[in-house]
Symmetry: C2
Amino acid sequence: MSVKIKSKFWIEVDGKPVFGSGKRCLLEAIEKYGSINQAAKEVRISYRKAWSYLNSMEERLGIKLIDRQTGGKNGGGAVLTENARTILKQYKHLESGLQKIVDERFRRIFQKNRL
Amino acid sequence: MSVKIKSKFWIEVDGKPVFGSGKRCLLEAIEKYGSINQAAKEVRISYRKAWSYLNSMEERLGIKLIDRQTGGKNGGGAVLTENARTILKQYKHLESGLQKIVDERFRRIFQKNRL
DNA sequence: TTGCGTTATGTAATATTCACATAACGGGGA
DNA sequence: TCCCCGTTATGTGAATATTACATAACGCAA
């Protein structure tokens, strides 16, 4: 029987989620590929879902995160705006280590007295 | 525009959630009232949902958490088993302070550079 | 002009969650 | 004895959320 602690962190604006590990991965993948479509494949979600993520993030933040181009060379593409890069960097900083803190606390409390 | 960090912690057994703040509140309320029905009202969920929570927890842990009695004086009732009290105590210990750690880290990173 | 790989979006299908109705229980009081 | 009451217990339909699928539009290049 495997017993594990799980944790999730996300940022809300006016009570609505705008950033979490899933969206962080998506932005990183867009940065990598220059394409929402390719990025969606990378993080194993549908293009539809990725598109919805990006739209809601932009709407809720009131900030343009992605420069999109439809048609043209290679069919178009998408790149992160400067704002998006800044937020992404801050969020990664926030996220890193947090999981480690949680895990350690869990181990300290549950290790000796087995469930 | 309010910007907040949110976090959730829960425990999984074989990949399935068995304990989190919602279930913690439910167990505490059962301890307080001696009744699943009253406890559900306290934590603002339906009796149906509370009952499902308890069943899945017991099934996934393989431990009896609640002694139930239907009918009789006051219509019956429910009390925590000794195992349930132990787990509850450990979980509360785990949970306490964790939110504080997350909040502080968030403030340190996002405070100065506004979104 | 056609083909290609994008972005963009509506809608149907599916899954999940929630709400409601109802049964069974058993002590206590009339 | 026979209801009454407030529980626990559980099935089922409704509502909601998520996911999958289909299709249009775009603009460069061959």
